[in-house]
Symmetry: D2
């Protein structure tokens, strides 16, 4: 599989089959899956917590580390896909809809090179 030729639906089917073969749907409530997502993101973040931003970027050129990081990214993706199965959310149309809101909230001409602080 590769990103150019693989649809989101195909990836989701891979995850659904893995879950069904283990009879794990019973654990896959949205509440539980949001916790798992958070746990997997933390395992990803663990690779970056003590690295400087520059050192984190250099992982792109360190094949062994990059493989470990890619595995954690895969776990995050799989739980997000499992959540979309669980709730019946189409991720591509959710992204399309959210991007409309993002473009209004962060107009390109006003947001250029600037990040927005969190709301107080």
């Amino acid at each position: 599989m590769n990103d150019a030729e693989t649809s989101v639906a195909e990836l989701r089917a891979v995850v659904e089959r893995f879950v069904a073969e283990r009879d794990w749907q019973q654990f896959h409530t949205p509440k539980n899956l949001s916790m798992s997502l958070s746990v997997e993101v933390a395992e990803l973040m663990e690779h970056f917590q003590w690295r400087t931003p520059e050192e984190s970027a250099a992982i792109a050129q360190a094949p062994e580390l990059l493989t470990e990081v890619a595995h954690e990214m895969a776990d995050v993706a799989c739980y997000l896909l499992a959540l979309s199965s669980s709730l019946g959310v189409d991720l591509s149309s959710a992204i399309e809809a959210k991007m409309v809101l993002n473009r209004k909230k962060y107009p390109a001409e006003k947001s250029s090179g600037q990040w927005a602080p969190p709301k107080a």
Copy 2:
């Protein structure tokens, strides 16, 4: 866009264009993006923190709530795609590779209906 007809690469291109139009690549180190992923997962989790698992599942039948949840899922997906751009990771092949490991770690016949406790 919809999941059946949209490739992962197409979704990533949407995110890359949004980021480039705002000149935000300078902020998109893997370290920073992992933090953003975590922040967005928390915003998703916020919808489930006080709901029972059953109430969290019922959101699938509550269109307004589901839209809010889908927006947060889109944010999570976008930061994961941004991270895959930043590190040059192909998500589909990362999932394929990780699934091989997952199948070894959790053989279907031994894992059926069972979850694994965290390592001490």
Copy 3:
């Protein structure tokens, strides 16, 4: 040490000594420590992700599991104390100040038995 007789400042001193003995202050920027906090909270959450809310409460009566959970809680506490050292924040006065805001935001008579949904 026990909670009745130990001040927050004494706990913080324990953490500061541990960090200083390892010359780790150089890694303890607020940015890095917030990531570590998040990683440790995830390790705590891992114990609860597949348990029902009722099963999570029953851990209070399971001494071995409770010890594991208490260790993760200690890690969370230590990183929060390290962050308060790093930023010079007095946690007790921060809690006192935040509680004033919380009482205004959630008046007892209006909030009784009700949780507030996240802002859209």
Copy 4:
């Protein structure tokens, strides 16, 4: 209240009273509280996600920002205290016990100025 004169038990009593006055104990299962902890840590992390490590440290000299960050730290502390109420965990003795393990895992002479990568 200030850290030098406030015991952990006194802080926990403040949180317990706030929760009891709102009849919120019913929501305070360990599972739910671990999610809330994660949500509050993310709100804290939001202040640091786009800042460099150096900019994050400079918040110590920016009183308005520091107040916002301190409020988020207070939220994290309150949920950790609520969890210790919910599970009957004494945080000070948990920290004392965990520190024994930490000293074995990271001997001062071998760990000086070095961070440990995550386990693969």
